[in-house]
Symmetry: C2
Amino acid sequence: MNAEIIAVGSELLLGQITNTNARFISGHLAEIGINVYYHTVVGDNPERLKETIAVAESRADLIIFSGGLGPTKDDLTKQTIANHLGTTLSMDDDAMVSIAAFFERAGRPMTENNKKQALVLEGSEVLVNENGMAPGMMYQNGDHMYMLLPGPPHELEPMFQFEAKPKLVRMLNEENIILSHVLRFYGIGEAEIEDRLQDILDKQTNPTIAPLASAGEVTLRITAKTDTTDEAWKLIDGAKEEILERVGQYLYGYDDDSLASKAIDLLKQQGKTISAAESLTAGLFQSELASVTGASAVLNGGVVAYNKQMKVQQLGIAPEFFEKHSVVSEEAAAIMAKAAREKFGTDIAVSLTGAAGPDAHGEEPAGTVWIGIDSDQGTHTYRLELSGLRNTNRLRAVKLALYYLIRTLADEDARKI
Amino acid sequence: MNAEIIAVGSELLLGQITNTNARFISGHLAEIGINVYYHTVVGDNPERLKETIAVAESRADLIIFSGGLGPTKDDLTKQTIANHLGTTLSMDDDAMVSIAAFFERAGRPMTENNKKQALVLEGSEVLVNENGMAPGMMYQNGDHMYMLLPGPPHELEPMFQFEAKPKLVRMLNEENIILSHVLRFYGIGEAEIEDRLQDILDKQTNPTIAPLASAGEVTLRITAKTDTTDEAWKLIDGAKEEILERVGQYLYGYDDDSLASKAIDLLKQQGKTISAAESLTAGLFQSELASVTGASAVLNGGVVAYNKQMKVQQLGIAPEFFEKHSVVSEEAAAIMAKAAREKFGTDIAVSLTGAAGPDAHGEEPAGTVWIGIDSDQGTHTYRLELSGLRNTNRLRAVKLALYYLIRTLADEDARKI
C-alpha cells in the first residue's frame, strides 16, 4: 500500500502556516510500513483540488486529506470529494451533539455555519474529533481509500494516531514485518558520516540505511523488512554494530530520544538534579528540559538574568567581576554556572551567555556564545561561534548545551552513553 | 507569473522533517504578488522527480526546488534537472573556493564527495550560499524559470530573501501594485469572526479578505491589487475600518506583529520593565519575549521555580503558604507574580503555574493553568483549562499570558492597542 498526503488550504500557499500535518502523518505511516511517495498542497479552489485528487488516484492507494473540514466558506474538501466521487453528504448526529456541547462549554453561541461541520460523506466511517468540532472520516471507493482529517494539528494528531492509524494497521494484511531503528549522532556532519560509512551505504539493500541531518544533528534510520520480528532485529543489529564501530563516539541516543530526553534520562539514572543560569537563551534551555515528561524529578529551576545588573543581583556575582570580564566571556559563563549550582543546590548547573544577534556585544561578534557546566567534576566552558539569525543561534546554543551536558554526564567513552 | 514549489527529500516523506521552506518561500512570493498554486514533496528518486517536474511545467511559470544539492548520494536534484532539460553541470570556481574555506574554518578535512556541491547547471545564474556550501542557481529555459535552493532552512532562507527575491522583483514587470495588510486577533474563534463579518466577506473582490486561524490566533489578510500604492491603501483602509467596527475589541496587532513583539513594543513605549516567575512553562514565556530583537531594553529576567521547594527558596514564599494553597492555584499565581516583581525590581511581573500534563496535579486536572500579572494596577489572575498534549498546553499558556499582558498594558478599550 502506498499513500499520498494532500493538504488543502490557501493559507499554506500564502506562507501563513507550515504543513506540519504531512510530517506527522508520514512519520506514523513509515512506522507501519506504508510508503509515502508524494505530499501535495493545494488551495481552497474546487477545480484545482479535483485535479489534484485525480493525479493522486493515478499513483496512490491511500489518499489522506488534511484541512478544509471547518465551518467557513473556504472549507471545501468534503463537498469537492463528494462531488468528484458522485456521492453525497449527510448529517452525523453524534458529531452534531458534540459540536453543540463544545459551544456550551465555551459559553459562546453556536453560529449557523458551524452545523456544516457535522456533515460527512455518506457511507464513510467517522473518526471522532476529541479536540475540536469537525469529525474525520475514512471512505473506501473501489481500489482507493480516502481519509479526511481536520487541519488544526492539535485536532489531527490525536485523531490520526489513536483512531485512524489502528484502523490502517488492521487493514494491512501484515504480510511483512517492517522494523526501523534510528541512531542519533551529534558533533559530526552528514557528509563526514556518509564518507566514513560509504562502503556500508553502497552495499545496503536489506536493511536499508538512510542518513538525515537537521539542526546540527545527524540520524541514521536502519529499516529491515522480513517475516519475523526476530529476523528483522538480527538484520538491524548487524548493521548497527558495523556503523558504531566507525562513528560510535558521536552517538548520543536512539529512536525517539532527543538531546533533552537523553539528558533527563541520564540525570534520573544518576540521581542528579540540575539548574541553569541563562542570558541570551532567556529560559529556552530550561524549557527544553521541561518539555520532557517527568523532568520535575531532576530539574529544580534556574535564573534568567538578561542583563549585567541582574547577573550581579540575582546570581550574587560581585559588580567588580564585570569590570574585569565581559558578560560574554569564558569567565562569565563559569561564574554563572557556579552561582546557579550553589543558589539552587543542585548537583550540576549549566549557564549560557552570549550575543544572539543581530548586534555584536562589544568586541564579540553576534553568534559568540559561552556555555558553562559546573559539577563535581569541576567547571568546564565551551565557546561557540554561530552564524545564523538571532533565534536560530539561541536554539543552536541550547542544543549544544544539552550535548555538552550529556557528554559531562556520560563517561568519556561516548559509546557507553 | 505563478509558481510551484517542489521540495526534494525522502526525509520529508518519512516524516523526519517538516517542509518549512515551502512556507518561507510562499510568504515572500505572496508579498511580491506571485501566486503559488501548489507545493509538492517528492523523494530522492530521479524517475519520480522527473515526473514531478513535468507536471509542474504544465501548470507553473516559476518552479522552485529546495533540497538535494548536498554532497551525499541521495542528493540528485541538479543532476536530474540537467538530465531532464538536456543540459550539463559545470564546476563553479567561486563555490569551490568557498567550500574549501568552510572546511578550513571548521578544522575538518574536506572529503571528496563535498566537491560535488560546487557543480552548477551550465549557463545558470549562481546564488551565493553565505551559510553553507552548496550554491543555489536560477536557470531560464524557454518559458520556464527554474530556481534551485539548498534544503537546510538556515541556508535557504537568507539566500532566497536576500539574493533570489530581489532578482524576481526585477524580473516582474510590475504592471500591478499588490499590497497586503494583516489584522491580528486573539480571544475570538475563526468561525465567530467569519460569522460576524459574513456580508463583508461575501461581497469581497478587491480587496480580498482571507481569514486564518492558528494556535488560538485569528488573522485577516486584506489584499488589494491596483495601479498605485495610494489607491491600494485606500481600498485596504476602507475594508479595515468596516472590519474593526465589528470585531475591533479582539485586535491586538498588525502584519509581522506577534504577541511577544506587541508586548515588547508596549513595554518600550511605556518605559516599563518586566520579569517572570515560571513553573510549568519553565522559561518559555521569557524565551518568547527574548525572541524579539531589542527585548533586553525591557526584560530583566526571572526565575524558573519548577517545584514547591524552589518556589519557597527562590521566590521567598513562606512554606506555610503551601500548606494552605496548592501550587496550582489562583493564590500561588498571585504570590509568585508579586514575588518576582519585587525580586527583580520591575514595573510588571507575570507568573505561570499549572499542570502541563499528562498527569493531573492533585485535584487539578492536566491542562489547568493559573496566570498572574502584578503591576501598579494590582494583581490579576486568569484560569485556563487547556485540553492539549503537554507541550501544546505549555505553549498555549505562554501565548495566553502574553495576551493578558498586552491587555493589561493597553487601555481597557482594546481598539487603542
